[in-house]
């Protein structure tokens, strides 16, 4: 079957004819298009414009670091609360011990206060550390179970900063006596 040959003088498409007939509309559209494109270009330029960095003095840095230490200690105490609440399921801890843990981690933060670090990442890291460190503070050893009964411990800090227990009193939790 012979191939259909292309015409040397192709007829203009309907859209082209209509464009010629309605030239005014085309100009109107083009003017509004130019205005819109310019607006978009300006917006893009504005987005690409670098934001000026604020000068931070040494005093500001020191204050910032102090705030980090305080906020770090707060975050750590929160993390501890979670950990403690887990431990609570077996044995409640007294307020003194909580404070002791808090102080320990505050010291930990102060050690790193000289560095500018990304707070959130550090918080997460330290929270993880807390999860690892706290179970190793002989708490588990203190939480002894005996014949379905749990210990109610009188924790005390010894000279090495470790926790020791004195005179464990065995109580039956089922009785609701938690003193």
């Amino acid at each position: 079957m012979p191939k259909k040959q292309k015409s040397l003088n192709p007829q203009p498409e309907f859209s082209e004819i209509s464009e010629n007939l309605d030239n005014d509309e085309v100009i109107k559209e083009k003017i509004s298009e130019i205005a819109e494109n310019t607006k978009e270009l300006k917006d893009e330029k504005q987005e690409r414009k670098p934001k000026t960095k604020k000068y931070i003095s040494k005093k500001d840095v020191a204050e910032k670091q102090k705030a980090v230490v305080e906020s770090g200690a707060f975050a750590m105490s929160k993390a501890l609360e979670i950990i403690v609440s887990r431990i609570d399921k077996e044995q409640p801890l007294v307020e003194v011990e909580k404070e002791m843990f808090n102080d320990a981690f505050k010291t930990f933060f102060e050690k790193y206060a000289d560095f500018e670090f990304k707070y959130k990442e550090e918080m997460v890291l330290l929270s993880v550390l807390a999860v690892i460190i706290i179970p190793r503070l002989d708490i588990k050893k203190l939480l002894k179970k005996e014949n379905g009964k749990q210990t109610n411990n009188n924790f005390r800090e010894n000279g090495n900063g470790k926790i020791s227990v004195s005179n464990p009193v065995i109580t039956d939790r089922t009785e609701g006596d938690n003193t």
Binding site: D24, I27, K28, K30, I31, S32, I34, A35, N37, T38, K39, L41, K42, K45
Partner: protein, 149 residues
Amino acid sequence: MIILDPLDEHQGILFFTLDDFAFYMSEHFKDDEFRLVCRFQDMADYEAVFEIAETIKNVCLVVEEAQIYISARSRESKFLRLCHFGRHWDVKVIGIARRTPELSSDFRALSQHIISFCQTHPPDVKTMADMGVYDVDKLEGHDYKEVIY
């Protein structure tokens, strides 16, 4: 006539935003006469005016402080495009500038009608002489020299 007037020197229908100007132009581009004054804040808006002039055709563009819109070595500009090809669209460009060396070399080369008032700075005088307007430093008061190519 469309006048780009950043320094508040001309009278006419005044536009402060491109949107207003574009809206007016889309309604009145077929008018026999208009005298529009553009006083925009953003340079990009002026570029759009050059583009619109190319679209509507048959318009006279008065560009005050012409060195603002096209630097001496710039090769990419809607204004430069109008200088090069404006005659195809019947767009006349009148450029007004204080110092000719600051103007684009293309703009200077493509000018057909040059009018100069007194110039005293040697580089300015030399540039005018290169363009065929001699002894502009000897002009006094509001005297001017005119060269038509």
